[in-house]
Every structure is written in structure tokens, then in C-alpha cells.
């Protein structure tokens, strides 16, 4: 139904061509499979297509049983974290042109959370850890009638960690979390950081109590996988380091 444009009016430059790309997807259908297995799908894609588009195409045109979560489609809702070519990424923020298409592109569920179906994992433990760090403002004193004042510098202090979309790319890239699911994980620490360094917050002691736990910040071995994986470009390891230092220098 698209308007037909005459051949001659289209300049030769930048006419993108669709090429065949193969995806090697780790499938697991709980209703039929006892074990996950790899399956290949080849579809035609433009270089600027997102991996999410590819998955949509496979689901829509080839195999409707392929299951994954997605919503916003542009890296803002955190639904579609998955392992693409061995690394945690958002499918909607990964463009085909940025991947090596001479080999099959591998797609599998993120690691460390229970796989429910294909790319869908049980997110509950992830959110449970988030909830445990008291991720909300704990204000001091009585409510002012207008807004609480905060200088632009104080606001900037925790800006980085406010960007988190809870996609779990970081936590499920963490080698410690893979083997010790009890570890709070980087995302929860990022959430705690956002409040610890908010000048309006007075919940420092309570929150640090949680993070000082056996499974808290001390579990982090600075492997930087989280920082590398974060689609929002949050300096996750740095945030964890700042929380560690806050713990040491205010309590020791």
C-alpha cells in the first residue's frame, strides 16, 4: 500500500538492501521440551533493523511459538534483555549492522534467572532484590509546603543511577550472581545508590544495613561485566564502589 515512487526519482545513494541473516536461537518450550535446544532461522533484514525486529519477523512469519518480552522498542522499558552473541543486550537497541552477520547470530535467555520459555525468564528474584534495598525516598523531618530545595550539583550527584530501567542486563551478566543467586546484584545496588546519594534522603543507615549484608556490596568482585552490559550507559561498577566507600568511611 506504500506509495509507488518512480525509479528515476530515487537517487542511487543509500538505497538499503535486505540481506539474509541467520539467527541461532536457544529455544525452550515448557509445554513440549524437556531440554533447551538451538535452532536456526534465516530471514532477510536491512542493516539498520533491530534484532527485535528480526525476532518479531521470525515470530510473525516463521514460528509463532517463539516467545520473548518486548514493549517500547527503543531501549526505554527494559523488557527485552537477552544474550546476543554471548553478551547481554537489549534486542531493541542492537542493530543488525553492528553484528557480524557472516556467522549465525546467537540469541539466548539471560543467565542466572530461571528460564520459563525461550527468552522469557522468571524476573521475580530480580525484583525481589530491588525491593529489598528500600528503593524509595526516606525523607527527613516534616513535609515542606513547596518542593524541597536541592542544588543542581546535589542533583547531578546521583543522576547516573536514576537512568536505570531495571532491565537486568547487569545483574545477569555478573559472574558472582550466576553462581550465587542470593547476591543482591548490581541493579539493586544501583537503585540503592540513587537514594544514598540523594541529598534529600535520610535513609542512609537503613539502606546501608541491607547492603552491608553477607550478600550485599561486598560480594562484588569488580568484574565490570555489569558496566559493559548496561544499555543505559550507567557506570554500574563505579556506583557499587561508591556505595562500598560510603559504608567504610561512615561506619568504620
Amino acid at each position: 500500500m506504500a506509495a509507488v515512487v518512480e525509479e528515476t526519482t530515487v537517487p542511487e545513494t543509500e538505497v538499503p538492501v535486505a540481506t539474509d541473516v541467520t539467527f541461532r536461537i536457544r529455544r525452550f518450550l515448557p509445554d513440549v521440551d524437556t531440554e533447551p535446544h538451538w535452532e536456526d532461522y534465516t530471514i532477510a533484514l536491512f542493516p539498520t533493523d533491530r534484532v527485535l525486529t528480526a525476532l518479531e519477523k521470525i515470530k510473525g512469519e516463521v514460528d509463532g511459538t517463539l516467545s520473548f518480552r518486548r514493549s517500547c522498542g527503543h531501549g526505554i522499558c527494559g523488557s527485552d534483555a537477552m544474550r546476543i552473541n554471548g553478551r547481554n543486550r537489549l534486542a531493541c537497541k542492537t542493530l543488525v549492522k553492528d553484528l557480524d552477520t557472516s556467522k549465525p547470530i546467537t540469541i539466548e535467555a539471560i543467565k542466572g534467572l530461571e528460564v520459563e520459555k525461550d527468552m522469557i525468564v522468571d524476573m521475580e528474584p530480580f525484583f525481589a532484590a530491588y525491593r529489598q534495598v528500600l528503593p524509595f525516598l526516606i525523607p527527613e523531618g516534616h513535609e515542606p509546603s513547596r518542593e524541597r530545595l536541592q542544588s543542581a550539583e546535589d542533583r547531578a550527584r546521583f543522576d547516573d543511577t536514576t537512568k536505570c530501567i531495571l532491565c537486568a542486563c547487569c545483574t545477569t551478566s555478573c559472574p558472582v550472581y550466576w553462581t550465587d543467586g542470593q547476591y543482591f546484584g548490581p541493579a539493586a545496588i544501583v537503585a540503592a545508590h540513587r537514594f544514598i546519594f540523594d541529598s534529600r534522603d535520610a535513609g542512609f543507615e537503613q539502606r546501608l544495613e541491607v547492603l552491608n549484608d553477607k550478600e550485599g556490596v561486598w560480594r562484588c568482585r569488580t568484574t565490570f561485566n555489569c558496566t559493559d552490559a548496561c544499555p543505559r550507559g550507567i557506570e554500574v561498577t563505579k556506583a557499587i564502589q561508591e556505595v562500598k566507600r560510603a559504608l567504610i568511611f561512615r561506619r568504620v
Binding site: 536457544r26 524437556t34 531440554e35 533447551p36 544474550r83 552473541n85 554471548g86 553478551r87 546467537t106 539466548e108 535467555a109 543467565k111 528460564v115 551478566s173 559472574p175 550466576w178 568482585r221 569488580t222 568484574t223 565490570f224 561485566n225 558496566t227 559493559d228 557506570e235 561498577t237 563505579k238 564502589q241 561508591e242 562500598k244 566507600r245
Partner: protein
């Protein structure tokens, strides 16, 4: 509930992950060596002969090679340990972790190349005779 273990691909972590793996491996290796080393040193309490006998094995070519490996492991562990400490305590550490990784790799090579030479020179001489 668990019926199968997931066999996915290996996670393609960055330098940070691999430096950590190496740190762990070297830490464990050094720990076990330390065990043995304290035990063999304890032989000095038994008799000089016993001690010298064990120490003699340290001077064989193969063990000498292991010795070089040990020094390499300790050196890496120490250098990376310093990097980890900088990441933890220097506010710009996390941002420069990559650069620090390459720095320690360079330092390690700079020390190990001549170090290996000095550690192996005697073995080489013993094996092939000293050069005139």
C-alpha cells in the same frame, strides 16, 4: 524441578571478567603452593638433609619452570590486586580500569622477561654447560 542444566554459550565478558578469572585462578594456585611451601620449609625442623633433599627438587629443570610460573602467577595476582584496590578506592579507578589492565599486562611482561632469564639461566647452564 531441575531437570537439565543450562548449556548456553560462554558469556563473552570483557577484560574485567577475564582479569578476575585469572586473579582467582592465580590466587588459588598460590594458596596451594603456599601450603606445600610451608610444609617443605618445615623440614628444616626435621633435619638439614631432609630439607636439602627437598630443596634439591626445586633445582630440577621442570620444577624450575614451575617456579617461573609461580612467580608469574604471584606477580599477576599482586599487580591485578593493586588494580582492584585502585578501582575500589580511587574515584576515577572504575573509569580507567581498562587502561590499568593493559598497564599491568605491560608491567608483567617487563618484569617477567628478564626475570625468567635470571631464574632460568642456572638451569640452562646446568643443562647445557656454561658458555665460556
Amino acid at each position: 524441578m531441575a531437570t537439565t542444566t543450562p548449556v548456553g554459550t560462554l558469556y563473552r565478558g570483557g577484560e574485567g571478567m577475564w582479569t578476575w578469572v585469572l586473579h582467582r585462578v592465580t590466587g588459588v594456585a598460590v594458596f596451594f603452593f603456599l601450603f606445600v611451601h610451608v610444609l617443605d620449609t618445615a623440614l628444616v625442623r626435621v633435619s638439614p638433609e631432609a630439607y636439602d633433599l627437598v630443596i634439591a627438587t626445586y633445582k630440577t629443570p621442570i620444577v624450575n619452570l614451575l617456579e617461573v610460573g609461580l612467580v608469574g602467577a604471584v606477580l599477576y595476582h599482586a599487580l591485578n590486586g593493586l588494580r582492584v584496590i585502585l578501582v575500589d578506592f580511587w574515584s576515577k579507578g572504575p573509569r580507567y580500569q581498562r587502561q590499568m589492565t593493559w598497564t599491568i599486562a605491560a608491567v608483567w611482561l617487563l618484569v617477567m622477561v628478564p626475570g625468567t632469564y635470571f631464574m632460568m639461566i642456572h638451569t640452562v647452564e646446568a643443562l647445557f654447560g656454561s658458555t665460556p
